[in-house]
């Protein structure tokens, strides 16, 4: 530690180093820089005063881009000069978060030269998050990152960095190539990623199966969840092996927990009413050696999830029950284009697409984007009164 550095007393934060659990205080101290000292100092002050001391937003960014840099300023710059500017940089992660050790060393080197040296691998959006940078260092960081083959991710009112699970790279349940789809959509929509043109953020997440390892159903405006539309594959001998093994009670642990009760076990054979299967994955997770997704695979598209920032949280709703996920994904891109056109033109400032649908009504939304309602959009019978059949349809009936 250099002699000029001002030692910060942080008795309240030091408490967080005690105990057996991981401590972010301990990790920040390991950075052993003046920035880390002031970061802990301003946080200690917040603990003392029970208020935050960060300001957010402003005019910071890199030339030509409207996303990727989140402006952070301390409102106590005289007391904590090293974090007076402490901007966050989001870097577009590789699909599935696969890195070579060389790539990680490159990122770490850039960040030690120009930033705080502290990172958050990864942020909830999926990006590599580089924590703490002065304004004058933003362009040099950007130049070095792009020279190394990386690009910034999304922030603000743009399409956020798409993210995906590891998919077919490591998971036998993946019903489509999540990494391929994520990469394709990221490349197609570079303008929407870097130049904010929407009422608010729009997130795309790609999960290979209903286990939804990227939590797309809770966090993305449009989620692509891998499903199958034929029958669950059953290995009868392996089912018997599970029954004989004694660790799994097939009736209690599998059939009784099926949300639609579509499975029967008579002690010798497992029967599945596939027409009533809602692809929850529970039975497959419970008996992975005996059951597997069917062969006719694709994805369900869901829309409208969001976390509670401006309004309350929303879970995604089924929008397209099944679609084949095959490049170049033209049907999906056409649908996405129609959604963005409508929402961008009529959405209110900071209104997510799920809130927009609630405000205008799903029926009106579907009519405007030219998509027919289907029963899967309804969570329960008579629960969604906003779908009205046209007179012509009633007459035909």
């Amino acid at each position: 530690m250099s002699e000029e550095r001002k030692k910060r007393e942080t008795p309240l934060l030091d408490e967080l180093e005690s105990g057996p659990w991981p401590s972010f205080v301990k990790e920040i101290k390991k950075a052993d820089t003046a920035m880390a000292d002031d970061l802990l100092g301003v946080l200690e002050r917040s603990y003392e005063e029970k208020i935050g001391h960060w300001k957010h937003g402003g005019l910071v960014g890199v030339m030509g881009y409207g996303g990727g840099v989140i402006g952070r300023y301390s409102d106590l710059p005289q007391d904590f000069p090293e974090v007076a500017e402490f901007h966050t940089i989001r870097v577009n992660q590789p699909a599935g978060w696969f890195y070579t050790s060389d790539a990680l060393r490159t990122i770490a080197g850039i960040w030690e030269r120009h930033g705080s040296g502290m990172t958050n691998m990864h942020g909830s959006t999926g990006d590599i998050v580089l924590l703490g940078c002065k304004t004058q260092e933003l362009e040099p960081v950007f130049a070095e990152l792009t020279a190394a083959g990386f690009d910034l991710g999304g922030s603000g009112s743009d399409m956020r960095t798409p993210s995906c699970c590891v998919g077919q790279a490591r998971c036998e349940w993946a019903c489509y190539d999540t990494m391929g789809a994520c990469y394709d959509f990221t490349q197609t929509y570079q303008d929407e990623l870097h130049r904010p043109a929407f009422p608010y953020k729009y997130k795309l997440k790609f999960s290979g199966c209903p286990n939804d390892c990227v939590a797309s159903v809770a966090r993305s405006d449009m989620s692509f969840i891998g499903v199958w539309r034929d029958e669950i594959k059953v290995d009868a001998e392996q089912v018997k092996a599970y029954a004989a093994g004694g660790k799994l009670d097939i009736q209690k642990d599998v059939c009784d927990r099926c949300p639609t009760g579509c499975m029967k076990w008579d002690g010798a054979a497992l029967e599945i009413d596939n027409a009533n299967c809602v692809k929850c994955m529970h039975c497959i997770n419970a008996m992975p050696k005996a059951l597997a997704p069917g062969d006719d695979r694709g994805a369900a598209i869901l829309i409208g999830a969001k976390a509670p920032i401006v309004g309350g949280a929303l879970l995604a709703s089924v929008f397209v029950p099944f679609i084949k996920m095959e490049p170049p994904y033209e049907d999906i891109k056409e649908l996405l284009s129609r959604i963005w056109d409508l929402w961008a033109e009529h959405g209110k400032n900071r209104e997510r697409v799920g809130e927009f649908i609630q405000r205008v009504g799903l029926g009106n939304f579907l009519e405007q984007i030219g998509l027919d309602p289907v029963p899967e959009m309804i969570t329960a019978p008579r629960a969604n009164p906003y779908i009205f059949y046209q007179d012509t349809v009633e007459d035909e009936a």
Binding site: G156, S157, R195, N349
Partner: protein
């Protein structure tokens, strides 16, 4: 379309300059204003997207974040 990207970019820049400090404009606000100014037959969303990119790449305008993303003048030009 007889209206060029340069013309739309210039008109957008004038609008951002005139409203600076009075009203924050988003990309869609500028797009709607340009379609109204030049007419839908001469100016569409794609043309406006290119015009905004030109303004950003040239440094004449920048993005700001104030709850949402807006298009504004750089601090040294305001």
């Amino acid at each position: 379309m007889s209206v060029s990207v340069d013309q739309v970019a210039e008109a957008m820049f004038q609008l951002v300059t005139e409203t600076h400090g009075k009203k924050s404009l988003k990309a869609m606000d500028l797009t709607k204003a340009m379609i109204e100014k030049f007419g839908a037959a001469e100016c569409d969303k794609e043309l406006c997207k290119h015009a905004i990119r030109q303004l950003m790449d040239s440094g004449r305008c920048i993005y700001s974040y104030l709850g949402g993303s807006y298009i504004t003048l750089p601090p040294d030009k305001a």
